[in-house]
């Protein structure tokens, strides 16, 4: 399986790429269908997403709520801006940790690559400072438990 890349670009972008062994249509559906999102967009082991709203149309609502089943949890809200089945999704999201984080504008592309799909997710934060905060703390909070597990593995 091809490795994931995560890079900063310019002052305000974070770019994540990953290849999948499935068609762009399947990968696109897995990114927009709430029933499919609930199966994988979970972060750390032991976390679930009991609430998943994903109205895949321009202006459609996004709301993901995660819980660790032990009273811990956080949520994300957003809106879809543009959708081009099955090649491109533009949406805006922000986390509540519990304080609201600045809006993250995300463009996700799904390009056919042989029999698979190359995904490119480009996040744009309002400014360099916000990006710095997201990279150093925002993602950390959302994935806290997985780091604990990683520490055990390393």
């Amino acid at each position: 399986m091809s490795k994931l890349t995560l890079k900063t670009e310019g002052d305000t972008h974070v770019v994540v790429t990953r290849r999948f062994a499935a068609s762009p249509e399947a990968v696109y559906r897995a990114h927009t269908d709430p029933k499919l999102l609930q199966k994988w967009l979970l972060g750390p082991e032991g976390w679930t997403m009991p609430v998943c709203i994903s109205e895949a149309k321009p202006g459609g609502k996004i709301r993901y709520e995660w819980t660790n089943g032990k009273g811990g949890g956080f949520h994300l809200t957003g809106e879809y801006v543009e959708l081009e089945p099955y090649s491109r999704i533009v949406h805006v999201e922000r986390m509540f940790l519990p304080d609201r984080t600045p809006d993250n504008h995300v463009e996700t592309r799904f390009d056919a690559d042989g029999t698979g799909t190359q995904m490119t997710m480009r996040m744009t934060l309002p400014d360099a400072k916000t990006r710095a905060a997201m990279l150093s703390t925002g993602m950390e909070k959302g994935m806290e438990a997985s780091y604990v597990r990683l520490d055990e593995m390393l």
Binding site: D11, A30, M143
Partner: protein, 116 residues
């Protein structure tokens, strides 16, 4: 000795394009403030201020060489940042490994449907 690295400060220091350019220059080898200021068309005090931010973030260290104070990359700071980004990659990878399985299930379901 292992430097205590504040990642918040590290990423904040990296948010500035001039500071990233300074790091790129120092990656090639140590340099003095005068040498660093030359390609940036900036005053030495301005460069010194950027260097201080990089030093506070644990990314750059200096040494004394007579009247010169050449700067170089701080290995511990750079490594801590690399490790952090590697952890973020691993955490994201966990989600995408699950997605691989979801996609395989979707394909299996489609193939089953075709046979009917």
């Amino acid at each position: 000795m292992i430097a205590a690295v504040n990642l918040d400060m590290t990423f904040a220091a990296l948010a500035d394009p001039t500071r990233r350019a300074i790091l790129a220059r120092l990656a090639k080898g140590e340099a003095t403030v005068t040498e660093l200021a030359a390609p940036f068309k900036m005053t030495q005090p301005a460069i010194s201020q950027h260097l201080r931010a990089l030093e506070d973030a644990g990314l750059v260290v200096s040494r004394v060489d007579g009247t010169r104070r050449p700067r170089r990359l701080a290995k511990a700071g750079i490594e801590a940042m690399d490790q952090w980004l590697a952890m973020l990659r691993k955490a994201l990878e966990k989600n995408y490994n699950r997605l691989d399985k979801v996609l395989a299930e979707m394909e299996a379901a489609t193939n089953k449907g075709d046979k009917r």
